[in-house]
């Protein structure tokens, strides 16, 4: 057989495959991509997850007559249709049907008029997403569950396999006075996350929302929820902490002579119309920052009994706080202080209960 015919054979094989390609099947995506209500109602961007949309609205909004508008995956349809006026005093559902009508997704739509709490006890947690991990909630004034606290757990699903909810980065522990507490632990992620420089994940819990972005995990975390009121004096909470044995960096190399520590901080920053949040890679340098409270090294102790931490808000140089203005508040807790740089010790465990903003 000549060289030519060999080359021909090589050419023919992909061509044969090409000839047998079947017709494309219908799309199966049934997502809400964007959600709209009149912007003057909103305190912050709608928070959209795979199965829920939350509108955080001003307290003067009439929830009994709302007609949110949703943009959907290509060719998907929604029921009830966009523009239908409904009473959102309590949570309502919509069903999004993909182009391939076999696939549907039910979204819970909530309107939340509540101000942020100033104290969280983490006593309410539920298993979510096929009962694979925990998330914390509080009960709002309408009786609906409110999910102020977010974590990276939903991003961990992709690499978790059959791990139990207690092995996820963010889980529950026994509370200080009965009930529950928030447990955060630094875990190994996976070789393929490691290939993109994220070999570990610190357990975290923060006021804000989380939407998986595998390319950039730090862009998955969106810190901050609308805040109005006085400038708190300090943040107080109770914690336990155990550092893992070896600190590893983002290349998964051991950092010699380094002991892991945790982090708890709160930032009050200026509100804006679009992208009213702060990504996980802010590094405390965002120009919107107004006041920051961060736990000092002297209070970051290893302890297996409850310890109190209380650390003050400090105004950022050149900034003033106006109690009549809308701000954004985040409180962030992490089992590894350099978790945002994917550095930390696997096994580091932080347990926090009763976190509270203290006013004069």
């Amino acid at each position: 057989m000549t060289k030519k015919s060999v080359a021909l054979l090589y050419l023919l094989i992909p061509l044969t495959f090409y000839a047998c390609i079947k017709d494309e099947e219908l799309d199966t995506d049934a997502d809400i991509i964007e959600a709209y209500i009149p912007p003057e109602y909103l305190k912050t961007d709608p928070i959209i997850t795979n199965t829920s949309v939350e509108f955080r609205v001003k307290s003067n909004v009439d929830l009994t007559k709302q007609a949110p508008f949703f943009t959907l995956s290509p060719y998907a349809t929604i029921s009830p249709e966009n523009g239908v006026i409904r009473d959102f005093t309590t949570a309502q559902t919509v069903v999004v049907t993909a182009q391939d009508s076999k696939w549907k997704k039910t979204y819970t739509i909530t309107f939340n008029v509540d101000e942020l709490s100033t104290r969280y006890s983490f006593n309410n947690a539920e298993l979510t997403d096929k009962d694979r991990y925990y998330r914390f909630y509080t009960i709002g004034s309408t009786g609906d569950k409110v999910y102020d606290w977010a974590s990276g757990n939903s991003g961990y699903v992709t690499v978790a396999g059959s791990k139990s909810p207690d092995e996820y980065p963010t889980a529950v522990a026994e509370g200080r006075t009965g009930g529950l507490a928030a447990k955060m632990q630094t875990v190994y992620t996976s070789s393929f996350a490691a290939a993109t420089g994220n070999p570990i994940a610190a357990g975290n819990l923060f006021l804000g929302s989380f939407k998986t972005n595998l390319l950039n995990t730090l862009k998955s975390t969106k810190f901050g929820l609308p805040y109005s009121g006085a400038l708190p004096k300090s943040v107080r909470s109770y914690y336990k902490y155990k550092a893992g044995p070896e600190v590893r960096n983002q290349d998964f190399e051991v950092v010699p002579d380094k002991k892991d520590s945790f982090d708890i901080y709160a930032i009050i920053f200026e509100s804006r119309a679009k992208d009213n949040f702060m990504y996980g890679d802010h590094d405390f340098k965002d120009p919107r920052n107004v006041a920051i409270a961060r736990i000092p090294a002297s209070q970051r102790l290893e302890t297996d009994t409850w310890k109190e931490a209380n650390f003050p808000f400090e105004l950022v140089a050149g900034k003033t706080f106006d109690p009549d203005k809308e701000y954004v508040l985040t409180i962030v807790m992490s089992s590894s202080i350099d978790g945002a740089k994917f550095t930390g010790a696997i096994g580091s465990t932080l347990i926090v209960d009763d976190i509270e903003l203290i006013y004069n």
């Binding site: 054979l9 079947k22 997502d31 549907k104 978790a160 396999g161 992620t189 070789s191």
Partner: protein, 268 residues
């Protein structure tokens, strides 16, 4: 596959008929067992050494709709060597049976664009996630097999032999790996939690341990006899057993080894 059987069946019938005839006309001979054995290996027998180049891959029978486009295809470790013997059933050397041992590479690297392709990505700690991926998939198959062919050979003309039959393969090296990239992975179901793969982000998979150790299939080919002892051959091998173990579910369609083989052989 039925086409192959259409060729086999007449071939087998021919062989049986022919050898039955040969039996009848045979003159009674008295020879010791040892002589008989010697004759068996010396008379009407032919030995061959072959080298082959294989092009093909593990492929579903009919491309499933999940695969939208084969973006690239590259054969890998396409070489094989074989030693075989052909025992002619009579002095006319018209029909014979051939068997031997072959060590062959079976590899490919393909890149495909897929839509709702069911797969499993995993990591070295054993954690696995199954779901539906729309984007690009790279698959690398890199296997070696010890193969025993059992073939009927028809000496069709002065220049051509036609052969067909079965082969039985044991894997010497198993590797089925790959990754997904530039797309969207939905965990569990097509409406599950969405993970997007952008830029350098990849989801890896390694199904090497799920490959079957044994497989068998059909082979059909021709060889061209030159005036010297060299021959040129071309044949097709198609597996009857899928490449993965029967309980393997991480790919939703069955895949079979299908290869075209060409090469040269030397007879002695």
């Amino acid at each position: 596959m039925t086409n192959i059987y259409k060729v086999y069946i007449p071939l087998i019938i021919c062989l049986i008929w022919n050898s039955a005839n040969a039996q009848e006309t045979k003159v009674q001979e008295t020879k010791s067992n040892k002589e008989k054995i010697n004759d068996f290996f010396n008379e009407n027998i032919e030995y061959q050494a072959k080298i082959q180049l294989s092009i093909g891959g593990a492929s579903p029978l009919g491309i499933p709709a999940q695969i939208r486009e084969i973006e690239s295809f590259k054969p890998m470790n396409p070489f094989g060597i074989e030693m075989n013997a052909t025992k002619w059933l009579n002095d006319k050397q018209e029909f014979g049976i051939r068997t031997g041992i072959k060590f062959e590479g079976r590899g490919m690297k393909t890149q495909a664009r897929v839509k709702n392709y069911y797969t499993q990505i995993e990591d070295d700690s054993g954690a696995q996630t199954k779901g539906y991926f729309t984007g690009h998939v790279v698959t690398e198959l890199d296997n070696f097999y010890f193969t025993i062919p059992v073939l009927f050979v028809w000496n069709a003309s002065e220049h051509w032999n036609v052969y067909g039959g079965f082969y039985f393969s044991l894997t010497a090296n198993k590797s089925f790996t790959g990754h997904i990239y530039d797309g969207a992975f939905r965990e569990g179901t097509p409406v599950g939690e969405l993970t997007t793969f952008e830029g350098t982000a990849q989801g890896l998979y390694d199904f090497s341990d799920d490959l079957k150790t044994f497989q068998w299939g059909n082979q059909l080919g021709v060889e061209y006899k030159t005036k010297s002892d060299w021959r040129i051959f071309a044949d097709l091998t198609m597996a009857n057993t899928q490449i993965f173990k029967s309980d393997f579910e991480s790919i939703s369609f069955k895949m079979y080894n299908i290869f075209g083989n060409i090469g040269v052989s030397y007879s002695f």
